[in-house]
């Protein structure tokens, strides 16, 4: 398989930038390696730092189809991998009975009802069997139980799915796989070992400013700088939940809508509820912003 999707590191970074995703060195290197080594990427980090966004960006950069599997407690094989369309199978059997019965062999019938026609593909199988380029996003993998994680292992290491009745289906092309996790529990060693690991943290000041500038229309350079600085300042306070990038963006948009050119303390305090979602956090931050200075 010719891995000529990405030329070198710089092209990855630029490519991501073209689709409005500002990657830092770490992110770009990992995406580059993921494609080169054909390994899935486990993306971890606080909520709202662009984990899911990264997968979408890579998909649109490579013109690939994005297939998404949202994980939740109780996810099983039938929802993640494949399922037999038993209603259709029943119909098939009954249709058989109606016509010239008895001379058809049971094995023939069995072969007949266990083939592709009666198979419902679910995201994982779909990603494997797709002809075109695919980015597979397995979102919030930490929500499934440890036992269910095992479902993913075969597809992640060998890019294949074994169906007892049909045999093994191997990937026609190797998809780029992203798994995201909010780290609410420790993932199993087996899963981690198969993946490249990427931790996306809150961005540095410059990068956050860039992000604000690209994503928020009509914001001035000066305001973006101020927004980024205030957010950094708030993140240094010990809070229940630090403001995420998406909240920063919401806040910046609000400020633009309000026609604010330069933020003063009052404005900052009044709009804090967009950045912070806990009353105690808002009070704490408001106090910090006024007292020290």
């Amino acid at each position: 398989m010719g891995d000529t999707m990405f030329g070198d590191l710089a092209s990855v970074r630029d490519g991501l930038k073209d689709v409005d995703y500002l990657a830092d060195d770490g992110i770009a290197s990992v995406v580059f390696l993921a494609e080169k080594l054909g390994k899935p990427v486990l993306v971890e980090g606080p909520a709202g730092t662009g984990k899911t966004e990264l997968a979408k960006a890579v998909a649109s950069m490579t013109d690939a189809r994005l297939i998404r599997l949202q994980c939740y407690e109780g996810l099983d094989e039938a929802k993640a991998l494949y399922e037999w369309n038993y209603k259709k199978q029943l119909l098939r059997i009954q249709a058989d009975r109606g016509s010239d019965a008895n001379n058809e062999d049971w094995t023939d019938l069995q072969d007949d009802i266990f083939n592709d026609e009666f198979l419902l593909t679910r995201p994982l199988l779909e990603a494997i069997s797709a002809e075109e380029k695919v980015v597979l996003l397995i979102d919030e993998v930490d929500r499934v139980e440890v036992e269910t994680e095992a479902l993913l292992l075969e597809i992640l290491s060998d890019y294949q799915v074994s169906i007892p009745e049909l045999g093994t289906i191997e990937a026609k092309q190797i998809p780029i796989v992203f798994l995201t996790s909010n780290n609410t529990r420790e993932l199993s060693e087996a899963l981690k070992r198969r993946c490249l690991f990427l931790h996306i943290d809150y961005p540095q000041l410059e990068r956050e400013k860039e992000i604000v500038l690209t994503k928020v229309d009509g914001i001035s350079d000066n305001l973006a700088e101020q927004v980024a600085r205030i957010v950094r300042s708030i993140r240094q306070i010990e809070l229940k939940k630090s403001p995420s990038v998406s909240e920063t963006l919401d806040w910046a948009r609000t400020l633009v809508l309000l026609g604010v050119e330069s933020i003063d303390v009052e404005q900052a305090k009044e709009s804090l509820h967009i950045l912070l979602k806990y009353q105690s956090d808002i009070e704490k931050a408001a106090k910090e912003l006024t007292v020290e200075g």
Binding site: S29, F197, R232, A268, L289
Partner: protein, 476 residues
Amino acid sequence: MLDLMSGFVVELRNAGLPVSLTENLDAMEAVKHIPIEDRDAFKYALATTLVKNEQHWKAFETVFEVYFSLRGPEYNVLDEEGEIDEDSLEEWMSQQMRGMGGQGSSEDMSPEEIAEMLFRALMNADEAMMAAMARAAVTQFAGMEPGRPVGGTYYLYRTLRNLDLDGMLDRLMEQAQERSEGDMTSLQERLEREEFENRIEDLKREIEAEIRRRLVADRGVEAMAKTLRKPLPEDVDFMHASREEMANIRKAIQPLTRKLAARLARKRKHKRKGPLDFRATVRQSLSYGGVPAEPRFRNPRPNKPELVVVADISGSVAAFARFTLHLVYALQNQFSKVRSFVFIDGLDEVTHMFQDEEDITNAVHRVNTEADVVWVDGHSDYGHAFGVFWENYGSEINSKSTVMFLGDARNNYHATNAWVVKETAKKARSVFWLNPEPKSYWDTGDSVITEYATHADAVFECRNLRQLEGFVDHLA
């Protein structure tokens, strides 16, 4: 390259990172695709294949700096003879100086000149200049001599003392004030200060890295890696943690409690089912024509103990008590009720402080400042404290309570009053004792842990976050 990599991986394992064979192979494969000259990319390539836990990133970075610090072209501090290449460095510096407006040659830079240039570099956030100045400062101030058996922190301290960065911060602020002609709002001022503080942090890191590079050149990679080896946050001993390590533990405890809570909730949900639910089974059987094909079970009654924490908060074990309280209260909804008492030689109930304060950190702070725990002299007296506990609260212990005693049981040779633990154990569902001291120290000197331990259901050594987590997991 192969030697280097395997040495690197061995060192990572020594530092406590779990690196498996496949991960090692992945790393080898990954670096094939990355030019080693691109140092950052190289670092990320190794990190992404070898480090699978964010907490371990710092340890990885340290090892990486040691092993690969001398290998990029722009980091060539040494020429072939292994001497520090002063000439080219100086030359490069003087070029930089001329670019800055040319105040003379760099032959003999005085401390004032270094300070001046540093000031400018910080003001303009000129990274190249800052790196150059970090080098100059180390050359000038650290007084490094080959083979001298002192740690890097000593050199760091010497360099930083001479640079007077606090004074620098004040000067930077003044300058910024002047620039904006005095009409800075307090918010702006705060932001500006943070910006400078940030830059100064960068500079410190640069200086540290520079010192490390030179030490590596002097002593060799293995020796250096060994001296820099630090325990991972979850393995840091509570009793001997430095301030920086304490801060790391505090940071680590937040995600830990979240994880633990999620795990406990899940465990509860997926545990064995309760007894047969007859009504539901009959109702279910209707869809099978009255045959009870699918039995239904009651959800089990959640096992939520009532927790009573009795913690020693005298100097030596204060940190341990603080973290344990923090953890227990973060998991409050896993228990039906939590009551907490703290003592040194007197005893005080602090439950209300945790109930009033929404923020656990504040509450812990209040416990340390407001609780009335000194009776005579403020030296641990378990005997008296337990006596008070039994007298005032003993009647409230019942068969639902789980009692946790936290402390090193170093009693300053007072009476032990071990009968309190015995009586508590009779009434309570279970009694645990957590001791933050290593097991080998138990019962040495004035430690009387065994006298208490004989009455408790179990005694756990609980020296670091990992052990604490294990215990709480077991408890709930």
